[in-house]
Point group: C3
Chain length 643, copies 3
């Protein structure tokens, strides 16, 4: 145990506005009895706080905070900006986001706003100011949450007229000329608009890249993606600055799983804590990108690596401070299938979050509300106020925490670089309909986890010290300084495919990529093919979907059966010019970890290991018991060994 | 034979406006020669009857009716409101329905109107008044049909501005306060609008539930579905009241197969006869929900239970009076595949309708029209005025009818409750992407039919007397009075899954469902999972897609292999907390029928049995001969035994 | 060798505007060194030629032509009308095409115009006039190209208001009455608008056939398709007439593969050369209609018949003059998968074009541009100006051409009739969701090619002399004169299915089809069924998807196992009333070729043969070596034997 050790706490999400005031006291008492520390409230309550424009009602919230705080709970207060009231739409009919087809995204659920609408942003500033002033010094308000789940329901990108104007202005600033008034010729050149006569005479000519006859210029698309991300950052920063002016409590946002259409690192820069909403079963079908067979194996458990990946990613986004703001407590309602979790999984998911460095895990939600969109989403309490199965698992964790000291997340031996611009570029130009950046990165992460390793996920700006192995799959953009930094460290590096294959606004660089210092390899041609026609490798496994033709004089690590090298190495740098399947990745990383002096251990199917500074955890995601060195681990089993 | 015996008659649908007047006389003569009694006309002829606004031309229709009636045929006269003329769109550009995406559904085919448009409804009242006045006492006009196929082409639901205004008014009436002026707070509370700040300040705030960012409030969706159904009822009633004022002939509407988006029982209340349009091959792929294997087995015959189900359903909707207004007479044109029926099937379909209580079966259509949308849809006559294969099968039935007295449909021993609100609720909140209410009800119906049973399909308001077994699969809404009525009868009851799981506007009840008198069972959690991951049962078969976790002290009927009961029983009431596959249903109903003293008989594949008061029918839908107790039944064979 | 022999030449597509002027000279030099004759330029350069409205800049183009021409290259100059500049949209906001859903197809890529917009057509006339005047007598401009790839990106059909007005006027002209002012009653009758009250009172009532509630009248759809085709013809003719007024160089257009939504024969009438853009790998998945297994077998080679088909089709469209204006030179970027071609295929594709009569093959493009939409589309040069793999194959062909005299395409013994109206009719009324006209014609073409035959593809107006076998699969429209011409020739004829099944605007004829002189066969009923339920034939193979019930007294060629004839023959005419699989087609054509005294030879899998007047070519599309009579032919092998 060191100074950096972390106290592990539990909590829940609570909606006092859903229930009669008479129930609040008992609810608070039962939360404390269950061993909970945190209660998040308020994030969807705008219509209660401001029933008509400019007329506030904070009385109920005052009472709720007093009641919860009085019972010994610490409050996380959410800003309600994800659910503007109905009257807001009358005030700003054009504040609604617009979808790719040009249809407005109407009132009637949530997140019905465009990040670029200045009028709505002013309203957000106003309500957040009111809340921050009133509760900024409240002793029970121990943390803040901005908005709710940016990007959920595909709400980052909007094709509204507000977005169009803001995008034109954003472009003007990107290409500000000598007179600071925008140099449209510079933009035309950077985007390659000479192709197909796409040049603009003025920034006002630039439309949003939807509804074009065939695909728009990828430079246009990338600029729009970067602009959109910047709008999210600005929206969040506006709230953070207001809250900070009135409160010293830490500020978090609750991110979602596998949403990559804005730069979470950039948003995270302004926040104190990164939290996320973890729904392992809901995410399995939609977001984990799992095969059908994999989905069947883990139907009631979730993907064994998806949660860990996001814990590791958001720990980095949070500069070390990680929470799970919403933890699935039982069956949910919003996925195509909504299975009952395997008994024990709620406990496993919670412990896994702690093993990956979480300070707090809050279950969503205290009690199932018997109406509206999420009425079939379980809570710790059933709608009839009886404890659910999830309640008992949460309470078990609370008991276990009494004798399990928190431990710091230790730096891993392995780091994976994750880059939101690379995701955007890959999304815009996949070059093979079956691939994605996220899936490629996840494949590498999974392969390393199956060798029993701890992994840090870092941004491309992060410090690289202290790692034995750094992996950068699919890193389409690599600045010269990053190339230099990578060349200079001693860690083993694994780079590619598509590494450094684009510069500024999607241009192909000259000389051709990857153009890495001290590595004689050039990608001279691309080969993209059907997923069911994988190219067999001599060493192990296959190159799937995508493979590069390399001009190289370096030592081959992986070769096609026809003899061409597709992965090569020189000293501490290796370049992989293909998407690899599981067997090929296992072979590759077994070799490279040996070189890097990293001890690996083959994990049994569904079993994963995670170490903190003082502990070794084993988790069994399989639906059957598994043998490990220390004996048998039951389905949904958690084994915690203090080192 | 009793007083309630029914004369069985045949007919056809005819479009005199498609053919030169010189042909009418011969057509009528040949209809009579074929043994037909009925001829339906007029239902798409508005542009002929009123070529320009307010200027009528009834002359041709007068002549057609005189010609057909003079030949000895009885006329069913249709109101032409499914096909408003082109000039109507100039008059009311906003009368067009609007689809979910906000696009108008334009002129150029049929059913191009929104049920909520008051201007169009006034036009309908006007043309129906003209027809009723002119032909109400015409001796040849022996029945009426309102409009044509309500709901066909997904035309029940419209997101037009007319629909929006009407829906707001409908909501106001639903929640009329003390001043009779609408209590928006009551609506907000009933819908649970506190969730996600969705509350309205006024009824004018309520938009239609389309184009929301994520799913709308299910209460909102259910209200809109109920409103929409009410609009169809009102539209139909308007015509019925006008016709009744001028004619004593019975009034029918021709419903379609598997259209459930309005309440057919409610529409049927205003009519004398329920008829439907039976296209067994066209429906197989699109509407019967059949597996690929099943579709292959019955490609040229149709689903063995789909027609029977609708006969039984619409006999109930028609308060005992059932017609088939359009009977497929050969290959049609509008399905993805349009096979030539197995020889004999046109006869089989006709006899099956009679066995299920039909008074009349009319073939669509007399002669194939050589142009426009249905030019590849067979008739009894080919386009070149030569008899088609279907003609000869129809004529054979006409011959057979001469010696086959009509018989009353006798009350079955088994009733299935079918409820349109349950369908709406299930559609809004399936909780598993692979399920539907219709499919679940059909599975139970099919299982009982495969045991050789007659079945009545009844509404949830219907009398329950005289049945030995009453089945209510998926009955999401159950009023207290229905619960009491079911508790008090002596018949065996099979209820669930999802029974009584919602009250008024989709709220979850407290205590939790099903809360049935004298049955100790509570659904405490839901489990929804992939169709290809069925849960094996100890007794037989599987629970597929959906299973409830039951808190119960009753006797188990079906249990998971892991021991939990998923179907339980106490006295005459059984609750089934799962969607069951064929084997599980067969096991269940074999057991329950034994208890209920109902004699069952396993049907050979593709063979079905149906009894009237005086007859026993056997039908062979299989493409091979089958052995039954009385010998061999050929493919497409009909065996009629007088008891 | 005869006078009609053709010199075989190579070329490339070049974009001087993409590169600094300093590079042009070297580029031109290397083109000549590679053995190229032609260089196509200018077709996307409007914004360079007219940067602001009415202000021209031809200077750069003058220099480019001088530079290229000076190096010894011949220039093909393209009109830039496929890429109107951004300022054009300000001038004519309504010039954008509109998609089926009513959405505008916006600026930001290419082909963003509606063929019916008169304002845009005037602009096109203006820029073409400028170009024709300036370069019409330029000695280096040796050919012209109009626009670029009509119909690419689904741009033939537009539902804009310009299209609507033009369509109404087109209809008026089609049905011009005695006063030459349009006879709407004639249109109503021809279309069968009496059905469903669809009659119009005036031509202004006619809307475009999109967004109707259910399918529009097929007559309406066919008229709109024919109108749309006529708009393309008129658009192209406008440019041709202007160019001809100023230049005597031949004029071409570069068609695409498998685009059938306008009549290429009609466009071709106005041109001197038909060229097309051949992307064998890009087309494999999307357009060749190949099965998954077939796609896997030929993933790196392309479909063995797709290119040949288009060579044969466009040789006919070009009245004997065929070019490949864009030849795939390596991996492309725009398909779902973009494989690296099997080594040798670029050479094979080139030689195959020459074997089918091409005068010139131009590789797209000289050098890969490092930005914009096609930055991942290979060229002969890599983006870093190094020769690509494709360069060396092109250069090899150039070397080989030095000793391979050009030869005339000789008339084949077999002709297939291809008809764009039939394609439109089949598309509007497929009667089975799995079929298409193109696929049916391709099946017949492939079957004949697998028997080693040369094939001519001809229009239904073409001369029929000199053939031993004429095949007309799926020829829905057959004029009386065509029927008579076919009856009178001596060649074997194979006609059907669906032959002559519609007359003018999609009406079913009476007497029923095919109504061929001297052939006693009538289609009395249609049978359309699932592709996975084929009907087995007694002789060989199956009837798939679609089969007709024939009333016939002729000799059976093919019969169902149940005995009914589905193909019959009398003298030199055979009628095939079904879609046949490969085995059935092989049987059929083996029989018929024997009768016709045509020598056939079974081709090994993937091998095809093609003869010119003086040569016999063998091409191996398989990825393995194949044995032929003359020995072994390697993968991607080309065997050229001089007779």
């Amino acid at each position: 145990m060191t100074d950096t050790s972390v106290k592990r706490t539990l909590g829940t999400c609570y909606y006092p506005e859903h229930w009669p005031q008479e129930m609040w006291q008992d609810d608070a008492k039962r939360m404390v009895e269950a061993g909970l520390t945190w209660v998040r409230i308020g994030e969807f309550a705008w219509s209660l706080l401001e029933p008509t424009p400019g007329s506030y009602d904070f009385d109920w919230l005052d009472k709720a905070i007093a009641c919860l705080g009085g019972a010994g709970l610490q409050v996380v207060l959410g800003t309600p900006t994800a659910t503007p009231p109905r009257w807001m739409i009358d005030k700003y009919p054009d504040m609604l986001a617009v979808d790719r087809d040009g249809k407005p995204r109407k009132f009637g659920s949530r997140r019905h706003y465009c990040f670029s609408h200045e009028g709505y942003k002013a309203e957000c500033a106003r309500i957040v100011t009111e809340l921050a002033k009133r509760y900024g010094q409240n002793p029970h308000v121990a943390a803040w949450q901005t908005d709710n789940e940016y990007g959920c329901h595909d709400t980052t990108i909007s094709y509204s007229s507000a977005a169009k104007s803001a995008f034109q202005e954003w472009c003007r600033i990107q290409y500000s000329g000598a007179d600071n008034n925008g140099d449209i010729a510079a933009l035309n050149k950077a985007w390659g608009n000479v192709f197909w006569s796409m040049s603009y005479a003025a920034f006002e000519d630039i439309d949003l890249p939807n509804l074009t006859v065939t695909e728009p210029n990828p430079a246009h698309s990338l600029a729009f993606r970067q602009f959109t991300s910047d709008q999210v950052v600005a929206f969040n920063r506006l709230q953070v600055e207001i809250i900070r002016a009135h409160s010293s409590a830490p500020i978090a946002h609750n991110y979602m799983g596998r949403i990559t259409d804005f730069d979470h690192f950039a948003v995270g820069e302004d926040l104190d804590i990164a939290s996320w909403d973890s729904y392992p079963l809901g995410f399995l079908a939609d977001r984990a990108g799992a095969s059908e067979a994999h989905q069947k194996d883990f139907m009631r458990q979730g993907d064994p690596d998806f949660q860990a990946f996001h814990h590791d990613l958001y720990r980095s986004v949070g500069k070390g401070r990680l929470w799970v703001m919403e933890q699935q407590p039982g069956p949910v309602n919003w996925a195509p299938y909504n299975p009952d979790p395997l008994p024990g999984m709620v406990r496993l998911w919670t412990w896994e979050a702690f093993a990956h460095g979480a300070e707090a895990v809050l279950y969503f939600r205290w009690r199932q509300f018997p109406a509206a969109q999420e009425q079939l989403h379980a809570g710790l309490m059933r709608p009839d106020n009886v404890e659910s199965a999830g309640y008992y698992e949460a309470k078990q964790v609370a008991e276990e925490l009494k004798t399990a000291d928190g431990a710091a997340a230790m730096q891993a031996e392995v780091a994976i670089i994750f880059d939101y611009d690379a995701d955007a570029a890959w999304d815009i130009q996949p070059h093979n309909t079956d691939t994605s950046y996220f899936a490629v990165v996840m494949d590498h992460y999974r392969a390393l986890r199956k060798l029993g390793l701890n992994i840090d996920i870092i941004s491309s700006d992060a410090a690289l010290d202290g790692y034995k192995l750094i992996v950068a799959p699919g890193l389409i953009f690599m600045s010269e300084s990053l190339k230099q930094r990578l060349a200079q460290i001693e860690a083993q590096l694994v780079i590619g495919p598509r590494a450094a294959s684009r510069v500024e606004q999607m241009q192909t660089p000259n000389p051709l990529p990857p153009a890495l210092p001290n590595l004689d390899v050039t990608v001279i041609r691309l080969d993209s093919y059907r997923e069911d026609m994988p190219v067999r490798l001599s060493e192990a496994g296959h190159a799937v979907c995508y493979c590069e033709v390399l001009d190289t004089a370096e030592t081959a690590l992986l070769t096609k059966e026809t003899g061409e090298a597709i992965a090569i190495t020189n000293g501490h740098i290796s370049y992989v010019g293909a998407i690899l399947d599981e067997a090929a990745l296992r072979y590759l990383y077994t070799e490279i970890c040996a070189t890097a002096d990293i001890q690996t251990l083959d994990m049994p199917d569904g079993v994963r290991r995670r170490q903190t500074t003082t502990e070794e955890f084993w988790f069994n995601y399989a639906s059957e018991a598994r043998q490990i060195a220390d004996g048998t681990i039951e389905p949904a089993g958690v084994l915690r060994k203090v080192k």
